[in-house]
Symmetry: C2
Subunit: 345 residues, 2 copies
C-alpha cells in the first residue's frame, strides 16, 4: 500500500505485469510490441492465437525470440494453445522451457461442438499434467452461442461458470485463471472457489457497459462488456484489493479497416495507454492505493514469479490519447486522460 | 385464418399495414418510399423524426404530400412528434386532419432528464386530450441510459414498463402502442394490461439476438435485440396470434457510410423485403396461418381503420436480397429468402 494524498501528483510503482496481451506477428507485432513498455508494463503473458496458433514449444520459443528482437527490454511470458495433440512430453518440455501457461479458447473445446463445454474434459490428461508440472491454465470462459440452450453473447460467461467449478473440483491444485471476467457472477464464482482459481480483469471492462459498444466497434470485444451492475462488481473487487483479481489487459489490436466495416472484429487496444487508463479509473474509484498490487503484485504471486526489475513513474498531467498508432485506433482515442507516463523514462 | 398446407406455394393476403416506418426526406425518401409497396405494404404509419421533427399539423400534411408525390399508390398515416408546445387546439386540428397518432421518444421526456421517465407526466394534458380525441399514443419505451440507476441498453425497455403501467392506469381509455417490443417482459406487460394497450413487433426482433448485432452494424437498432429467451417470447406471441401484437417494422434506412464507420447509427432497413422476411419466419415457426392477421388485421382493428384495398401475392420462390438499394444496405443483404413478391403486381 502506498500513502496517497489528494495532492499527489506523481506515483512510482514497480513496472507492471500484463497477464493477457495480444501482440500478433509481422507488421502488426512491430507496431504493437514496443508500445507495451509505453503503457507501463515490464512483463507480459503473450496469447498464442496468432495464425497459425502457437501449439508447440518450438513455435512458442521462436515467437518469443521474434518479440524480443522487437522489444529487447521486455520480459515475455509465453503460452501454448490448448489442442488435442498436446502431449505430456511436450508439456514437460514446455515447463522446462519456462512456458508458464496453457490457453484454452472456446473453439478449443468444440471438437464435438454439440456438447459445448463438457468437451473440456476431453483435455483431462492435459489438465492433470499441467497440474503436476505447475503450469497455469488460462481460460476464455464463455460457452459458444447456442440458441437452443438460450446461450448468447450476454450470458455466455455466466453459463460457463459451472464448468469452471467442475474443473476446479476435478483438479483442485491446477492453477486456473478465468480471463477477462466481465460479470458479477464470474467475480463471485472466482472469489468463492479455492486459492488455485484467480481471474484477470481488463482496463476496458472496468469502464464499459453494453451501451458503449453498441454503436462503437472500437469498444467491442469478447467477452462483451455487460451491464453497469456487472461493471460495478469488477470495480468493487479491485477497490477491495482482492488478491485473486489482477491485471490482464486483453489488449487486442485490429487495423482500422477491420473495425469500421461490415463485420467489426472483437478486440480493444489499450496497450499504449494501459497504466494511465487504470490509474485514472482507480483514482475515480478512490482506490489508487491499490494500483501497484493490482498491476504488479497479485498476478506475479499467483504465477509465482519474482518482482519486475525497474519502476514506472506516472504523473498527474494530461495525456492526450493519439487518434492512431499506425493504422490502429486505440481505446479512448482522441480523449485526454488525467495520468501520463513521461517519456523518455 | 387461411388453410395452409405443406405444399402451398402461393399465398394471397390483404395488402399489409406497417404501423411504424421511417421514410426520411429528400434523396433518402425518394429511394425508400417506393420500396414500401415492394415489401407488400399498402398503408404505413410514418414516424415524425425527420430533421427538423414533424411537430405541427401543417408540417405533417406537407410531409404527407411529399411522400404521396413519390408513391401515389400508398396510404400514409401521419404522426406528430410529442413536444411541450403541442397545444390542445393543435391536437384537435390534427385529429380532424386524420393524423392518427402522437409519437413519444425517450428524448421527448427528458425536459428534466434527471427525473427520467417520470417526466412523461409533464405531458399529461396532451395525453388527456389524445384520449378524448381518440388519437393513439405511440411510445418508444426505453429509459435513457442512466449508470447511477443501473439502466443500460439491455434493460432500458424493461425499466420503462412501470411507466407504461402508470400511464395506462392514469389514462385507461388512451390507446397506447408500445413500439418494437424486444423483451419477454414487455410482451408480458402488454398482454396483461387492458385492451387499450397494444404493441408492435418488428421483423428483425423476431430474428435477432444481441449476438447478431455485436459485430454487425446492419443488425444494430434501438431497442437492441436482446436474448434468445426474449426473441422466443416475441415468436410465441405471434404464433399464439394475440390480437394486441401486430406489425410495425421500424424499418429505418441509413446510408452505408453511416453504418460502416466509427459510430454506426441505429436502424435496420427491412422495407423492401418485409413480407417475404416475415413469411419465412412464420413458416419456420409453423404459424404462416397467422400472417394475414399479424400484418393486416390486428393493427387496423386497434387503429380502427378499414381494411386495405387490394391484395398482395407471395410466392414460395427464392428471393435474392440485393446487396444495396441505392447506398442503403438492407437487412439480410445478399442472402436468399424462401418467399418472394412477384413484380410487377
Amino acid at each position: 500500500m502506498m500513502n496517497m494524498t489528494e495532492t499527489q501528483t506523481t506515483l512510482t510503482i514497480p513496472l507492471a505485469d500484463d497477464f493477457h496481451v495480444h501482440l500478433r506477428d509481422g507488421d502488426l507485432a512491430r507496431t504493437v510490441t514496443p508500445l507495451v513498455r509505453s503503457g507501463g508494463v515490464g512483463r507480459c503473458l503473450v496469447m498464442p492465437n496468432v495464425n497459425p496458433p502457437i501449439q508447440t514449444v518450438h513455435d512458442a520459443l521462436e515467437y518469443k525470440r521474434s518479440l524480443l528482437h522487437i522489444a529487447p527490454d521486455m520480459t515475455f511470458l509465453m503460452t501454448l494453445y490448448l489442442h488435442e495433440g498436446l502431449t505430456h512430453n511436450e508439456l514437460e518440455r514446455a515447463a522446462e522451457a519456462g512456458i508458464v501457461a496453457i490457453k484454452c479458447y472456446p473453439r478449443g473445446v468444440t471438437t464435438n461442438s454439440e456438447h459445448g463445454a463438457t468437451d473440456l474434459m476431453a483435455h483431462a490428461d492435459t489438465f492433470a499434467a499441467a497440474e503436476n508440472l505447475g503450469m497455469v491454465l488460462c481460460i476464455h470462459g464463455e460457452i459458444p452461442n447456442d440458441t437452443e440452450r438460450g446461450i448468447d453473447i450476454m450470458n455466455a460467461e455466466e453459463a460457463f461458470l459451472p464448468e469452471l467449478k467442475r474443473l476446479h473440483t476435478t483438479f483442485p491444485k491446477l492453477r486456473i485463471v478465468l480471463e477477462h471476467v466481465s460479470t458479477a457472477a464470474a467475480v463471485n464464482a472466482v472469489r468463492e472457489l479455492g486459492d488455485s482459481v484467480a481471474a484477470t480483469i481488463t482496463a476496458h471492462h472496468l469502464l464499459l457497459t453494453a451501451e458503449d459498444w453498441a454503436n462503437n466497434p472500437y469498444n467491442f470485444c469478447k467477452p462483451v462488456a455487460k451491464t453497469s451492475a456487472d461493471r460495478d462488481a469488477l470495480r468493487a473487487i479491485i477497490k477491495e484489493g482482492h488478491p485473486k483479481f489482477f491485471l490482464g489487459s486483453d489488449s487486442a489490436p485490429h487495423r482500422q479497416a477491420h473495425k469500421e466495416c461490415e463485420h467489426p472484429k472483437p478486440g480493444i487496444f489499450t496497450t499504449p495507454i494501459l497504466l494511465p487508463l487504470i490509474a485514472q479509473c482507480m483514482e475515480e474509484l478512490d482506490c489508487l492505493d491499490n494500483l501497484a498490487e493490482f498491476v504488479a503484485t497479485f498476478g506475479r504471486h499467483f504465477y509465482r514469479l519474482a518482482p519486475n526489475k525497474g519502476t514506472v513513474k506516472l504523473e498527474r498531467t494530461p495525456f492526450h490519447v493519439p487518434d492512431r498508432y499506425g493504422d490502429i485506433v486505440p481505446f479512448a482515442a482522441g480523449t485526454t486522460l488525467n495520468w501520463s507516463i513521461p517519456s523518455p523514462r
